[in-house]
C-alpha cells in the first residue's frame, strides 16, 4: 500500500476513534474527571490537611501528578482494550480492517493512537480540575519531561490494553485485568506517597511496579523531586514499550483472538 496509504489507514483509524470518543464524551471523558475530583477532595483536601508536607511540598501539590497519571493510565488502557474487544465481539467490525491491506503494525498504531489521544485529553482535563484544588497554582519544573512521561504512560498502557483486548473472550475478560492488576499497580506505584516513607522491603516491591517509574518521572517534571534516577526510569519504560510492541505485533500478525 505504500507509506502514504499506511498513513491514511492509520489516520482513518485514529480519526474514527476520536469522532467516537467526542460523540459519547459523557462515557469517555467525564468519568475520569469525576473520579479525580473525588480523589482531590478525599486525599487532597480532607486527608491531605492531616498529612501536611510530602518531600517538602504540600500534600495536595504532591498528589496532583500522581492523579493525572492515574487518569492517563486507566483511560488509555480502557480505550484500546475495549475498542479492540468491541470491534471483534460486537458486529465483528474488526473484519473491515482485517480484510484490508493495512499491515499489522499500522493496525497496532491505529488502535493505540486512539488510546493515547484519549489518555492525553483526560490527563489535561484532570490537570485543569486540579487547579481548583491548588488555588490555581501549578508547579512546573520541566514541561518537556512532563509531556514525555505523559506520552510514555499513555503509550505503555494503550499497548497493554491492546494485548488484553486481543486475548479477551468476554466482557469480563477486559474487566479482570484492570481490577486485579492495574488497580494494585496504581495504588502501590507511588501515586499517593513517596517511596521513601515505606519500609525497605516494601520499597523493593515498589521498584518492580512499572507505574512507579512513570509517576516518579512525571512528578519530577512538575516538582523537580525524584525517588530514583530519571535515566533509569526512561530506560526501563522504553524496554517495556519494545516488549509490548513485539507482543502485539506477534498477536495481530498471527490473528490470535480474531482469526479462526
Amino acid at each position: 500500500m505504500g507509506a502514504s496509504g499506511n498513513w491514511i489507514s492509520f489516520y482513518t483509524m485514529v480519526r474514527k476513534d476520536i469522532v467516537r470518543m467526542f460523540r459519547i464524551w459523557v462515557q469517555t471523558f467525564l468519568p475520569s474527571v469525576v473520579t479525580s475530583v473525588l480523589y482531590f477532595l478525599i486525599f487532597g483536601t480532607v486527608l491531605g490537611s492531616k498529612i501536611g508536607d510530602m518531600q517538602g511540598v504540600p500534600y495536595m501539590t504532591f498528589v496532583v501528578p500522581g492523579l493525572v497519571m492515574l487518569a492517563i493510565v486507566t483511560t488509555s488502557y480502557a480505550n484500546t482494550s475495549f475498542m479492540f474487544f468491541a470491534s471483534k465481539f460486537f458486529a465483528r467490525s474488526i473484519d473491515e480492517i482485517l480484510v484490508s491491506p493495512t499491515p499489522p503494525w499500522v493496525i497496532i498504531a491505529g488502535f493505540i493512537g486512539g488510546g493515547i489521544v484519549r489518555g492525553m485529553l483526560v490527563g489535561v482535563l484532570v490537570l485543569l480540575v486540579s487547579l481548583f484544588f491548588t488555588g490555581l497554582h501549578l508547579a512546573v519544573h520541566n514541561v518537556v519531561i512532563i509531556f514525555c512521561f505523559a506520552i510514555l504512560t499513555a503509550l505503555i498502557f494503550a499497548l497493554a490494553g491492546l494485548v488484553n483486548g486481543v486475548y479477551a473472550k468476554s466482557i469480563d475478560g477486559i474487566n479482570i485485568i484492570p481490577t486485579f492488576v492495574l488497580t494494585p499497580l496504581v495504588y502501590l506505584g507511588g501515586v499517593f506517597y513517596s517511596v521513601h516513607v515505606l519500609p525497605p522491603w516494601w520499597q523493593t516491591i515498589t521498584y518492580a511496579d512499572p507505574l512507579f517509574y512513570l509517576v516518579n518521572g512525571f512528578r519530577y517534571g512538575f516538582l523537580g523531586i525524584t525517588d530514583i534516577s530519571l535515566l533509569m526510569s526512561v530506560g526501563i519504560l522504553l524496554g517495556m514499550v519494545v516488549v509490548l510492541i513485539a507482543i502485539n505485533w506477534y498477536l495481530i500478525r498471527k490473528g490470535l483472538g480474531v482469526k479462526q
Partner: protein, 306 residues
C-alpha cells in the same frame, strides 16, 4: 493468456476443534468471470472465502489473487479484493456514509477521493437518502446493499459475495442481480456463494460445487447442467387426467399431483414433444408446462446425494 483472478491449490483447513473443514480444495476463477461456489450448509464455502480474504488461517495449500500469493504478498492480494460477508459486520452506531468512507481509508484512499466515490455508490445502490442515518435503522436489504457499497469503494478487481441476497426480497434481489451483472461487464471478477440456486443459474458463467470440504464438480454452467440426465416437468391440463393416459405415459414415470396436473421425467429418448403427443392422443389439451425446479437445483441435489 489472461491471468486468473483466483488460484487455490490443495487448500486444507483443520479448525482448533479438530473439524476438517477443507480436504484439499483446488479451484481457479478466471479473470472477468462470474463464478459461483455452491454447496450445502457446512460444506466449507465460507471457510474458503475466509482464507482468501485473510479472516481465517489456512492449515495447508496455496492461494493467489491476481498472481499475488496471500502468504508472500498479503497486502497486495488484499488490495485486489472486495468482500461482502455473510454476516452483517459494521458498527450499527455509525452512519453508512462514514462506514464506506472509512473503509476506503483502510485501503489507503484519501478522503477527498473517497467521499464522492462513497456518495455515488450509496446513491447507485438506493441508499442516497439513508447516508447520514445510523446504520442500525436500515432494513435487512439496505444493510446488504451498504455492505456491497463498502466492498466496492476501493474499486477492487475481484468481488467476493458470500450469500449477498440472504433475507432480501425478490424485487430487491433482482435489482442487485442487474447491478452485479453491470459490474462484470465493466471487467470486475465476481465469486458468489448463494443458497438461491436460481440466482447462481441466472448469474454465473462457471460454478464449482463443494461438499464436505471437497470440490465435487467444477466447470462451465453449460457443462454442469449437461450432467442432468433427466428433469422433472409439471404439466397442467385443461381436463382431468385419465388412468389410460397415465398408463400410456408410464415410460416417463408419471405422478398425478391433482386431477389436472401431472409430473413426468424427461430425458434421453423421452422427449417432451412425444409426451404431449401422447396426451393429445388421449384428448387431453395442455394448458401450461414448466420445470418443477431449476435445472441447476436438480443437478445440485443429485451431485450432493451421490
Amino acid at each position: 493468456m489472461t491471468q486468473a483472478a483466483l488460484v487455490i491449490d490443495n487448500l486444507k483447513k483443520i479448525y482448533a476443534s479438530g473439524t476438517e473443514a477443507l480436504k484439499g480444495v483446488s479451484l481457479t476463477v478466471p479473470a472477468g468471470d462470474f463464478f459461483g461456489l455452491l454447496g450445502p450448509n457446512g460444506a466449507g464455502k465460507t471457510t474458503v472465502l475466509g482464507i482468501v480474504t485473510g479472516l481465517v488461517n489456512k492449515t495447508a495449500g496455496t492461494v493467489s489473487v491476481f498472481g499475488c500469493d496471500i502468504d508472500k504478498e498479503p497486502e497486495k492480494a488484499k488490495a485486489h479484493i472486495g468482500l461482502v460477508g455473510q454476516e452483517i459486520n459494521f458498527n450499527p452506531f455509525e452512519k453508512p456514509f462514514d462506514i464506506v468512507v472509512n473503509q476506503a481509508g483502510y485501503y489507503g484512499i484519501p478522503r477527498s477521493v473517497a467521499i464522492p466515490r462513497a456518495k455515488k455508490l450509496l446513491v447507485d445502490l438506493g441508499l442516497g437518502d439513508k447516508m447520514t442515518q445510523k446504520a442500525m435503522t436500515l432494513s435487512g436489504g439496505m444493510k446488504r446493499r451498504l455492505m456491497i457499497a463498502r466492498a466496492l469503494v476501493h474499486q477492487p478487481r475481484f468481488l467476493i459475495l458470500d450469500e449477498p441476497t440472504a433475507g432480501v426480497d425478490v424485487e430487491l434481489r433482482r435489482g442487485m442481480w442487474e447491478y452485479l451483472r453491470a459490474l462484470t461487464k465493466e471487467g470486475l471478477t465476481i465469486l458468489l456463494t448463494t443458497h438461491y440456486l436460481e440466482e447462481a443459474e441466472q448469474l454465473c458463467r462457471h460454478i464449482a460445487i463443494i461438499n464436505k470440504g471437497q470440490i465435487i464438480s467444477n466447470g462451465s454452467m453449460k457443462d454442469i447442467l449437461k450432467k442432468l440426465k433427466s428433469e422433472t416437468i409439471s404439466i397442467d391440463l385443461t381436463q382431468p387426467v385419465t388412468s389410460n393416459a397415465l398408463d400410456a405415459l408410464r415410460a416417463y414415470g408419471p405422478k398425478k399431483v391433482d386431477d389436472t396436473t401431472i409430473e413426468i421425467e424427461i430425458g434421453a429418448g423421452r422427449g417432451l414433444h412425444d409426451a404431449i403427443m401422447i396426451l393429445d392422443q388421449h384428448h387431453l389439451a395442455v394448458q401450461s408446462v414448466r420445470n418443477k425446479s431449476g435445472k441447476l437445483e436438480e443437478v445440485f441435489v443429485k451431485l450432493i446425494n451421490e
